[in-house]
Symmetry: C2
DNA sequence: ATAAATTGTTAGATTAGACTAACAAATTTT
DNA sequence: AAAATTTGTTAGTCTAATCTAACAATTTAT
């Protein structure tokens, strides 16, 4: 129940890869963390000793229930922090991830309980991602991609797949943020780009690549 | 300009010992950090290479100006954090030190600038200790100890020498906090204990040991 | 079914930060 | 001044987390 910062980052990465890809290979985790494969193998054995990962040579990596719960709790701290930084400290949503990446490792129950309380027990972070509960359980959301919508649809921007600094700045420049109601005027059949309108902005053009990163309901 | 958490803790400890004791020995620093002397010697050499400590074999340890500035900046982050946790997050002053001990190592300018701004650029932390400025310079305060006051004095509780969890809980139990106006009714010559009154509490008895930990003006 | 490419493991080295044991210098006591 | 004590340094070991090089297993392509 007490892990190093390094172990925590491995758990978190594994959790996210499992969620997005299903089976996770040593190679994938290695690339994701930018850490060489032998180092990853060594850490998997260590986490296996701690019963956080079910490790078997040459088999896909799998978190144990315990490992998944612990990872969920770290992600909870990460997302509560991001929400706190945006809502209570007025830091831009494109700046909070790097700070949360560090604060998620702080050992303190009271700090995160206070954040939770002051935020009114939020269920999503500033990018629309779900905040795992106190047991580390994360609800998966069921939004669809903006790129899957059709001409005439009127939808609400609810979450993001890509939450990188660069993408968030791209959205800032176009006044796109969570909650914005988007009307799809036209979908260009050739490249899948969309002509959309939303609060104040008329006929904004969004590439297919961008529309694939945006989740709506 | 980029130090490990470990290096930062050494710098901070050195800073505090220099401030309180003047000359600092390897032995003192070793005891203070609860790290064996050979480890401390090794770290002093490392910090010497980084021009943060002026290290000479068998001589007292001395921070360089650079080292003192860097230490000041870490203490600044620590104390801004404590103030933020108490003022903005309503965490008890006896709980914030352990959290700040971790958050002081977070790498982020915006986080601490926001704290500073939201707090209205405070000059002291929740225990009355001065917050170093943006250059890492710390004003030393010129309060006197409650134990140095005499019968009939009316003073204001302004800072604490001991800021341990236990002492803070002791003060909590007696409703003693920063800003409280204390009237000294009587000083017992035998053991130096004081009979004092303050907002609501009449004839509270404080031992000499306790009075020595309280700074007033 | 082989061969080639990719993926994964093992072995051995490195760095940061800790330790103990042994020795040396400095300080204090006698 | 000599002896005893304390303080500080050096040398060598350990663990966590990283790496590279070499080899082995698995998967993919031919
Ligand atoms: Mn994030
Ligand atoms: Mn992290
Ligand atoms: Mn403190
Ligand atoms: Mn610290």
């Amino acid at each position: 129940m007490n892990h190093s910062l390094t172990e925590e980052n491995y758990l978190k990465a594994l959790f996210h890869l499992e969620k997005n890809m299903g089976e996770v290979s040593v190679n994938e985790l290695s690339k994701n963390l930018d850490i060489k494969m032998p180092t990853v193998t060594a850490m998997m054995k260590k986490l296996s000793d701690k019963k956080l990962v079910a490790y078997q040579k040459y088999k896909p990596l799998k978190l144990t229930d315990k490992g998944r719960r612990e990872a969920g709790l770290i992600i909870r701290k990460h997302r509560l922090t991001e929400m706190f930084l945006v809502e209570k400290m007025k830091i831009g949503w494109e700046e909070v991830h790097d700070i949360a990446e560090q604060i998620e490792h702080i050992k303190s129950t009271v700090l995160f309980e206070k954040m939770d309380e002051l935020l009114g027990f939020p269920s999503i972070d500033p990018h629309g991602s779900p905040i795992p509960d106190r047991k580390g359980i994360m609800n998966k959301y069921s939004y669809r991609k903006l790129s899957d919508c059709k001409s005439g649809d009127r939808v609400k921007l609810s979450a993001l797949i890509n939450t990188s600094n660069e993408f968030l700045k791209f959205l800032n420049a176009r006044f796109l943020k969570l909650g914005v109601k988007i009307s799809i005027n036209h979908v260009e059949p050739f490249d899948g780009s969309m002509n959309v309108s939303y609060s104040g902005r008329k006929n904004e053009l969004l590439s297919h690549l961008v529309c694939e990163q945006i989740l709506v309901e």
